[in-house]
Amino acid sequence: MFEFVKLKNVCVNLSHRSILTDISLSLISNRVLTLIGPNGAGKSTLVRIILGLIKPNSGTIIRSNNLSVGYVPQKLHLNTLLPITVERFMKLSRKTNNIKIEEMLKRVKAESLKFCQLQKLSGGEMQRILFAKALLNNPNLLVLDEPTQGVDVMGQLALYKLINEIRHELQCAILIVSHDLNFVMAKTDDVICLNNHICCSGTPETVCNNLEFISIFGLKRVQELAIYHHNHNHIHNF
């Protein structure tokens, strides 16, 4: 149980508008934290704070030394003018070798894409490559920004299964940002509901034994998903 990143009372303002208010959370080894919230809640900003890409206006962030981070962004604004193969792109990470690259590509089921040009990949293929790249240097913290967006049902299950395996193997902290307000990955330890501030937080409820759920979603899907019950004590006025 190792606390890799700790945020305390973090506030972020951009152009005199408050984006995040009073955020406190911890990213702990072998624990999955799912961050959910509506559009414009500040999820992307919070992810950037955690990754160290922007600095908060107030509050503290404590990061452990030599933290190895793997980041799988939602959309990669790739430089389409640069011709580069998937293999070369993966090689850009330090301390990596061909065997490791091959291994990671196999895990995300993308080994056939090894010699493709990066610009020619579809969105889903690109996401798998980014995931493989994030895993290359054995990250202590793995951040996945809306990983299931645009992925079909079987793909989602496979993805959650893979995330679980990674979590146990690497004992890393995992942060998943999800656009779904109700369903989270079944093995999530903590959920935070965000809308500028932390509206509520808690643990999800697994529904694998709920017969009604099974009849609606099917047995397989139900095993990988959990419901998160929000417990808000306030209303946002817009």
Partner: protein
């Protein structure tokens, strides 16, 4: 005849060794406005060199390095309106240079044509030594920092998370570009130096599967353009620098046509 054109040709080839890789980065990073701003500000450098009676090369070099650092910092500060700001800086510094020159040098005449288009065939042995040393220097720095610059060019966020200092990478490219432009202006001219940086990599883009391959093909295209341009200027008495640019544009056109029919 050969002795007349060989130094000019050699200067062009040596310059190609640095304009190839740097031009590729300028194309990838969409920095052509930076190149233009730097080259237009060189007139201000010339004005300052006359005013303070220093060697024009060093005045231009120092001024451009200064502007390169400011531009790198500006890119960080205003990513959206950068295009407009660059235009303002570019034309303001050019105009400031021209006004300054007219005010201080009622006696001295500046050969504007030489400044705008350079004089490749007037290169001396000392110039060749200067160009060689700077090319070796720039290439060494590029090779040393190749990995981090390439990584930050592909995606700044991912490389920042990987621990690469993206500001240093940007600064390196800009200062190297400023240095190359300062060296090349005397021979190629301020007006056309940016096109010599950009057109060969643009031509190479269709034939490359990796960044290194694109750089090498850009260097080859640049050398071919220099050869063709100088030949044109020798046989038809056209100015060297625009002839070189025309050759490289021609090669670019052919490569585009080939791409469509391939």
């Amino acid at each position: 005849m050969f002795e007349l054109i060989f130094p000019g040709w050699l200067a062009g080839v040596l310059l190609s060794l640095t304009t190839g890789p740097l031009g590729s980065f300028i194309v990838w990073r969409r920095m052509s406005s930076f190149g233009d701003t730097l080259s237009h500000s060189s007139l201000l450098g010339i004005a300052l060199s006359i005013a303070f009676n220093v060697n024009s090369f060093y005045a231009i070099l120092i001024l451009m390095s200064f502007i390169a650092i400011i531009l790198a910092w500006l890119e960080e500060l205003l990513p959206v309106s950068l295009d407009t700001v660059l235009n303002i800086i570019s034309h303001s510094s050019l105009s400031l240079g021209m006004v300054f020159i007219s005010l201080i040098s009622s006696k001295k005449e500046i050969n504007i044509t030489n400044y705008l288009f350079g004089d490749l065939l007037s290169v001396t042995k000392n110039d060749l030594i200067t160009i060689s040393i700077s090319s070796i220097l720039i290439l060494s720095i590029l090779l040393f920092r190749w990995h981090s610059i390439l990584s930050s060019t592909i995606n700044e966020e991912l490389s920042q998370i990987d621990g690469i200092n993206v500001l240093y990478a940007r600064l390196t490219i800009m200062l190297m570009t400023a240095f190359t432009i300062a060296i090349a202006i005397k021979f190629v001219g301020a007006l056309l130096i940016t096109s010599l940086l950009i057109i060969p990599p643009a031509t190479a883009q269709h034939f490359s599967g990796s960044p290194e391959k694109m750089v090498i093909i850009a260097i080859i295209v640049s050398i071919l353009s220099v050869t063709g341009g100088i030949s044109l200027s020798v046989f038809y008495n056209t100015p060297a620098s625009p002839s070189i640019v025309l050759c490289s544009s021609f090669l670019c056109l052919i490569s585009n046509i080939k791409k469509h029919f391939y």
